[in-house]
């Protein structure tokens, strides 16, 4: 039996109707998942959703109680010997022998393959050199994750399973890991990663499967998931401001309502408030809005201080609305640390789908 690399875009992992029970309790119930070559597939879900169990069935570490799992066309349990050289695995709990040194572990795993990836190159890419001589039990969480990732990639597998790859990593390490994952994808590798980090899924994944209670409750590209609630969702619909706490949100709400009621034309700059000028807090500024701009009449704005110093204004965001926000800040003599505009995020979609309850 041989394994031939699937063409880019062809399914490398196919899960159909997967069922897995632990002690009679179903952890995965009729789960379907497809991961393609040359693509990053994210399995996104809250803790206990069944993400790890699903990938462990794909890795041949667990035997499904129902359904079929095919990796590169083969059964991960029955055809394990043939499949193993082609599949790289990063476990959630690392799986690194604690008594050995980091560099030794990577060389050890590399020695299991006939043509492993260059250990020196991986060491450099993931910044492992700095702790190569440190024993695994003394590594930080992020260092262990990088070492575990290196072990998953050293065999040059065509399918790579990464279970929460950037958990516990600092931002620099995360960047390095994400760049490596994108490179794998560009090289035609099918990357399957589980995560509960929204930005990881949004930035990395070509395809997202949102999993909860053991089955996929939504799947698609990130833009598809964001657009699922209608066309409005994908346009800017919120302004987020970080400034000092305690600003009057009613003032802002009024000013924003005024922008939606005013005609869209007006002389630019004539009445723009100056920082600190008292007048600015009472009237909305005349923003340089193109005459062709149309605003939905009577559109509603909602403004709230969601946590101390974080203000969220939701409504039909346009340049005039943003100008109203800055005028409001100027009127209050408050300097914003950040002002961002945007639409629904993957996190909003995720929370809508999986609920806000802690678990």
């Amino acid at each position: 039996m041989t394994v031939s690399p699937p063409a880019p875009g062809r399914p490398a992992v196919e899960v159909r109707g997967l069922v897995k029970r632990y002690g009679g309790r179903a952890v995965v119930e009729h789960l379907d998942l497809t991961a393609r070559a040359g693509a990053v597939t994210a399995v996104l879900g809250p803790n206990g959703a069944g993400k790890t169990t699903t990938v462990e069935c794909c890795e041949g570490l667990r035997t499904p109680d129902g359904g079929t799992v095919r990796v590169l066309g083969l059964d991960p349990a029955a055809d394990a010997t043939v499949l193993r050289p082609h599949v790289g695995v990063m476990l959630q709990d690392g799986g690194l022998p604690s008594g050995a040194r980091a560099g030794e572990v990577l060389r050890h795993v590399a020695a299991m393959y006939a043509t492993p990836r260059d250990v020196g190159e991986l060491t450099e890419r993931l910044g492992i050199g700095g702790f190569a001589r440190t024993s695994v039990r003394r590594l930080s969480g992020g260092q262990r994750q990088r070492l575990a990732l290196a072990c998953a990639l050293v065999g040059r597998g065509q399918v790579v399973f990464l279970d929460e790859p950037s958990a516990g990593m600092d931002p620099q390490s995360r960047r390095a890991v994400w760049d490596l994952v994108r490179e794998l994808r560009d090289d035609g590798v099918a990357v399957v990663l589980t995560t509960h980090l929204m930005d990881e899924a949004a930035d990395l994944a070509d395809h997202v499967h949102v999993v909860d209670h053991g089955h996929v409750i939504a799947a698609g590209t990130v833009p598809e998931l964001l657009a699922a609630d209608g066309p409005q969702a994908s346009t800017a619909s919120r302004v987020r401001v970080e400034a000092r706490p305690g600003l009057d949100t009613d003032d802002l709400e009024k000013a924003l309502h005024d922008t939606t009621r005013r005609p869209a034309a007006g002389p630019a700059g004539a009445s723009t408030g100056h920082p600190g000028a008292p007048a600015a807090s009472t009237g909305p500024p005349a923003a340089p809005v193109p005459a062709t701009a149309t605003r939905p009449a009577g559109a509603r704005w909602r403004v709230a201080e969601t946590e101390p110093g974080v203000y969220l204004a939701e409504g039909p965001v346009d340049p005039a609305a943003l100008a109203a926000v800055t005028a409001w800040l100027a009127g209050a003599g408050a300097l914003a640390r950040t002002i961002t505009t945007g639409g629904r995020t993957l996190e909003d979609v995720f929370l809508d789908l999986t609920g806000r309850q802690l678990r």
């Binding site: 693509a39 570490l61 050289p85 022998p97 050890h108 020695a111 393959y113 990395l204 070509d206």
Partner: protein, 284 residues
């Protein structure tokens, strides 16, 4: 929308390079063999690599070294020289009487206590699962462990043999081969028992049980003290793998004989433990 579509330009991936064919990118310097399809190293290389890795780890670990080497050496020196131990040796010198039992003890130390603890913690830390996903696989992992135990045994025999020789040990040359057979069988038996324990209990529990069993077997298991000197415990000790191993090695080194009874007991325990381990060992 085609679900394999990649994000265009920098919209979602501001740090990604523009699209390019994999092998055109200047940043992706790969070894020359990168075009070869992924393949496993040969089975023998995988198993030998694993064995060397495990043996190194065991010999570098302080606690493992203590139980595998230092304690057996101390027991040997104590039995051979301590004036407060009134040991009836039945005419043989104290060192000749002590060595067989200490060699049997060394097998229990490395094959059972040390291996059970190491495997239990590897299991808890996911090491067994990770290695099972590499070309090594579960079978290769077990073979590597068995070879590692044998490698440690060789080191133990060399060190204990040297210390014993300094203390005046003179074994019957005819007994060396039968002793080797007994020690090998004992290693198989106690490794199987170690796997059974490590694969069915929590790591902390294994740590406690494996150490406790070691002490109990030293005191009353017929390892260093022959079962017939243990009074009412004697028949029980003789039926244990520890007593059988001790008796088999003593018969070999003291009388140059290969004794059937103890070897049969050991074989029965080995088969039973191996079957039980195969049945109940949990990888997770």
């Amino acid at each position: 929308m085609n679900d394999t579509t990649r994000p265009a330009g920098g919209a979602r991936t501001p740090h990604a390079e523009p699209h390019a064919e994999p092998h055109d990118r200047p940043g992706s310097a790969r070894p020359a063999d990168a075009t070869a399809p992924p393949a496993a190293a040969s089975p023998s290389r995988r198993v030998l690599t694993q064995a060397a890795f495990e043996a190194r780890t065991l010999l570098r670990n302080g606690e493992q070294l203590l139980v595998s080497l230092i304690l057996p050496v101390l027991v040997l020196i104590g039995m051979a020289t301590a004036p407060f131990l009134g040991i009836a040796t039945g005419g043989t010198s104290r060192i000749d009487f002590a060595v067989p039992g200490v060699l049997a003890l060394a097998v229990v130390s490395s094959a059972f206590t040390s291996q059970a603890i190491a495997t239990a913690f590897d299991r808890r830390n996911g090491v067994l699962r990770l290695l099972a996903t590499t070309p090594l696989g579960r079978g290769g992992l077990l073979a590597g462990k068995a070879l590692a135990v044998l490698a440690v045994l060789v080191v133990q025999l060399a060190v204990l043999g040297a210390v014993a020789a300094v203390l005046g040990w003179s074994p019957d040359p005819a007994g060396l081969a039968p002793a080797g057979v007994a020690l090998l069988l004992g290693t198989a038996c106690f490794t199987a028992l170690a796997m059974l324990l490590a694969g069915t209990m929590r790591a902390e529990g294994v740590l406690a049980v494996a150490n406790l069993v070691w002490i109990l077997l030293v005191v009353g298991g017929g390892l260093v003290v022959p079962p017939d000197r243990l009074g009412p415990l004697g028949p029980l000790a003789a039926a244990l793998p520890s007593g059988a191993l001790g008796e088999a090695v003593r018969a070999a080194l003291l009388d140059g004989a290969l004794t059937g009874g103890p070897l049969l007991v050991l074989t029965a325990w080995t088969v039973g433990a191996a079957l039980a381990a195969a049945r109940w060992f949990r990888w997770h």
